[in-house]
């Protein structure tokens, strides 16, 4: 009963407690950063650089085919030509004067200022923190304003009942869809299927903000452009060679 807590003991015991708290909290931070369950942040911005000089026509066809295979679109039987989905397509650009033909793969350009997001009445059209533009199909009512607003014609609408979808890519009648930059792969450290399909440097995928990334360094070196740069949408997909 006579034991009194002097100043020293008090400090000792409080430091022990503080140290305990510190270990616990660092344990928590460690787990939140180590697990794949941390939300995406705006410290990254995913983008892609497409060098048309390095892409052959069959490269572009491959990109379209692997996208169909990966995401399970393209075998719709009841949709007419214009109704068929087009997550990525081959576009031919012809210079009227010289007749020079350029071929390029065209998909959602993942704008920083996406017009499709501006016009959506339900917030289904959305941009993730890391710059990926998506349709939250749970909120999509199929009004298709976004399809009209998109300068690139990159979105399509599902016109028929579907079955046997890919497990990682639910799709269904009455909603709009487009290139997701394969977020289901990217979130797990992978790269989009179309980028993987091209073995040359024709397509470079990466974090535009990261000064050490190949895409960032290449963009600093070479001449590149955004399609319809005049619209100031600051697209995540960049092109060179056109």
């Amino acid at each position: 009963m006579s034991k009194k807590l002097n100043r020293r003991d008090f400090i000792k015991s409080t430091t022990a407690v503080t140290a305990g708290v510190a270990t616990i909290s660092s344990g928590i931070t460690l787990t939140t950063f180590a697990a794949e369950d941390s939300p995406v942040t705006n410290e990254k911005r995913w983008g892609m650089l497409i060098d048309t000089n390095k892409l052959t026509e069959s490269n572009i066809d491959d990109m379209v085919n692997v996208c169909q295979e990966e995401n399970g679109w393209g075998s719709e039987t009841h949709s007419t030509g214009a109704q068929k989905p087009d997550w990525i397509k081959k576009v031919k650009v012809r210079d009227k004067t010289t007749g020079k033909i350029d071929m390029l793969p065209m998909m959602c350009q993942h704008c920083e200022q996406p017009p499709c997001v501006d016009v959506c009445p339900t917030n289904a059209s959305m941009k993730r923190e890391d710059g990926v533009v998506l349709v939250d199909k749970h909120l999509c009512i199929g009004c298709r304003y976004c399809m009209m607003a998109c300068p690139y014609g990159s979105r399509s609408f599902v016109h028929e009942d579907l079955s046997n979808q890919k497990e990682h890519m639910p799709r269904g009648k009455g909603t709009v869809e487009s290139c997701t930059l394969c977020v289901h792969r990217v979130d797990k450290g992978g790269i989009p299927a179309c980028a993987e399909a091209v073995s040359s440097d024709g397509v470079i995928f990466g974090d535009l903000y990261d000064a050490n990334s190949k895409i960032n360094q290449t963009l600093k070196k070479i001449q590149s452009t955004q399609i319809r740069a005049d619209l100031n949408l600051n697209t995540g997909i960049r092109y060179s060679g056109i």
Binding site: A35, E36, D37, S38, P39, V40, M126, R128, E129, D130, L134, D136, K137, H138, D161, L162, S163, N164, Q165, K166, E167, H168, P170, R171, G172, K173, T175, V183, H184, D187, K188
Partner: protein
């Protein structure tokens, strides 16, 4: 009077049996296996909670995945389908088909889901 009592008893007895039969909904192949091995505790900590709260869990997870890119397995719809599906003649039965896991209770309470117009109704691509 006696006859009436027998009829009454017979009725109660059959209805008790009927209840006993459909109380055990078709859990699906893997879930049944896990349950028999006594490993179901770690999956759903409380049965009454998952029975009541699964719509909320699913919607919460849905938003986390679509908006924040969080792709853990917990409460993921893919995982429910993986674990709660049944096979018949070496083929998976769609999980929302009559008498399958995601439909029995819903039929009873008159709920219909639209989830499976987009989400795959069987595990992965092939068996």
């Amino acid at each position: 009077m006696k006859r009436l009592l027998i009829v009454f008893l017979a009725l109660t007895v059959t209805s008790v049996f009927a209840y006993g039969v459909d109380k055990h909904i078709n859990l699906g192949d893997r879930a049944t296996e896990l349950k028999n091995e006594g490993k179901s505790r770690g999956i759903h900590p409380s049965l009454s909670e998952i029975r009541k709260m699964h719509p909320e869990f699913l919607l919460h997870k849905r938003d986390k995945t679509v908006h924040q890119g969080i792709r853990t397995r917990r409460n993921s719809l893919k995982e429910c389908v993986d674990c709660h599906s049944t096979t018949k003649n070496d083929e998976y039965v769609p999980i929302n088909a009559p008498e399958q896991f995601c439909s029995t209770c819903h039929q009873k309470v008159g709920t219909s889901l639209d989830c499976f117009s987009c989400h795959r109704t069987t595990p992965k691509e092939d068996l």
